[in-house]
């Protein structure tokens, strides 16, 4: 199977990424006009019919989220694009915004129009300065074309400043509000009480770009790719021991082996040339063995059966010489560093995992690591603490992956 180019512009695309010509060439202008001529209910029912799910990692049904904000009571509503892409091994939003910033931004304008938001924020990580500049250029063009501005929706770019946790949606709200980016306890969910306590529609870059291409075309077109359960395409960010690391757009349901091996995708395993394992979904992802990769497909259902998830779409590839315990130790340090310290299970737990692993507890204190991991999963406030032990637990569950090391 091959890569698809829908979210990413086709190779034949000639217009400049931030130009009005690009807005037309990609059909986003027509899509915006279509959305502005429809009722909010109608737009939402199209999104629901498309089967689109959020692409930030949680795969929440997009139509349901829009409907919840649309129906929420309150005079002020906000839309937020989450471009605070800081998950380990994840760089798909960077590439998407570099190659086609107008898709996601058109999605923001559509979202604001539908839910009635006068103000939207694009929150981008502070290390993506080049991408931020491109986004600002694209916004400027949308402003001069009348799609963005004080009459409709005003869009402001917010630059993060180096905090992984700020990508958690409620922490991101606190960051915009000028507070420490510590996550809030949910519920209430952002759709009811988000930014400054108002109903807020927060979506990942890729989700908004999907909305834009959906209305640039139609539901039937959108459903051409994917599986019965998960419609559409997904950006995967492949890194590590492959011939062609990069971001590729593939249909849901694609065999994981194809993603690694196809000549116009990963292009095959390099390093030793023999696959050791992949880490799917980023730092909070799941290690998959060679056998699991061979039988796995990029789909939520089939991956859930082996305890994995697509997450952000990160596919980190390790040849069979990489000590995965070392990888896990690095991940543990990452989480210990990035824990915001607000809740005990995460603040203490991430530190204890580092200590246990560094003291050689991987073999001798497996049970303690498991119990600690489960306590963090159950008792942490937010996704960081809840998922920090996931990769570690997945490795403990696959003893075959660490036998050789």
């Amino acid at each position: 199977m091959n890569q698809v180019r829908r979210l990413l512009p086709g190779f034949q695309t000639t217009s400049a990424p931030t130009s009005v010509e690009r807005l037309k060439e990609r059909g986003f202008e027509a899509g915006l006009k279509k959305v502005f001529s429809m009722t909010g209910e109608d737009v939402i029912s199209h999104i629901t019919a498309s089967g689109l799910k959020g692409r930030g990692g949680a795969a929440f049904p997009t139509g349901l989220k829009w409907s919840s904000v649309y129906n929420a009571a309150g005079p002020t509503k906000y839309v937020v694009m989450n471009a605070d892409e800081s998950e380990l091994g994840t760089f798909k939003d960077r590439v998407l915004l570099e190659e086609d910033p107008l898709g996601a931004l058109s999605g923001v304008v559509m979202a604001a129009h539908v839910v009635g938001a006068k103000k939207a924020y694009c929150y981008i990580r502070g290390e993506y300065r080049d991408v931020e500049r491109r986004m600002a250029e694209a916004l400027q063009m949308l402003r001069s074309e009348g799609w963005v501005g004080t009459d409709g929706v005003d869009i402001e770019i917010r630059r993060g400043a180096g905090a992984y946790i700020a990508g958690e949606e409620t922490a991101l709200f606190n960051s915009i509000e000028g507070k420490r980016p510590e996550p809030r306890v949910k519920p209430p969910f952002p759709t009811i009480k988000g930014l400054w306590g108002s109903p807020t529609l927060i979506q990942n870059v890729e989700t908004l770009a999907n909305v834009a291409i959906l209305f640039a075309h139609d539901t039937e077109w959108f459903k051409q790719y994917g599986t019965k359960d998960t419609v559409g395409t997904k950006l995967v960010a492949i890194s590590g021991h492959v011939q062609r690391p990069g971001v590729y757009e593939v249909p849901f349901g694609m065999p994981l082996t194809d993603i690694l091996e196809a000549p116009n995708l990963g292009g095959g395993v390099v390093g030793s040339g023999r696959l050791g394992a992949i880490l799917l979904g980023g730092a909070a992802g799941t290690f998959l063995s060679r056998e699991e990769v061979a039988s796995g497909r990029l789909d939520y259902g089939s991956l859930a059966a082996i305890g994995a998830s697509i997450g952000s779409g990160a596919v980190m590839v390790f040849d069979d010489t990489v000590d995965l315990k070392w990888v896990t130790a690095r991940l543990a340090r990452f989480f210990a560093e990035e824990s915001c310290g607000q809740c005990v299970p995460c603040r203490v737990g991430t530190q204890r995992i580092v200590e246990l692993i560094e003291q050689g507890g991987f073999k001798s204190r497996t049970q303690d690591l498991r119990e600690l991991g489960l306590a963090m999963r159950d008792a942490s406030i937010c996704g960081l603490g809840q998922t920090a032990p996931v990769a570690l637990l997945s490795l403990l569950d696959r003893p075959g992956l660490t036998q050789h090391a």
């Binding site: 290390e127 300065r129 180096g162 960010a237």
Partner: protein, 148 residues
Amino acid sequence: MDNQNGTIYASVRLLLQDMPHERGQLLPALWRVVEHYREITPELIGAVSEGLSIPYAEVYGVASFYSLLDNPGGKMPIYVCTDVMCLLQGAEKLKHAAEEAAQDEPVAVRESACLGQCDYAPAAWSGKRVLRRTTAQELVTAVKEAAQ
């Protein structure tokens, strides 16, 4: 307030004068300060606190949270990604090479969490420019450039 403080307060006020003076602007304000002064000192926190009418402790709490605002000494920072994918491609050696080059320069080599450039590992970032598939030689050049 001594004279030096008075000067800093006045110049921060000038730096922030065209932005709305509200809590929601605290992070953009801190970005301006760190881009101008390269670091955020207690005096600067005081000046921002006064300028935006936000309690000192709150400004401190926010400023100290973010790694890109944390640049004690005010040297030019160069960030070398030392997360998994870049380490597999030799980031540790690159970091040492950069550190050596920076020894007598007003440049601080810092480790960074994943920079989101894994397709171009090993990566580094100068605060302005991303160095992709970088080499020791390129990093040493970047250190010398930053020192100027």
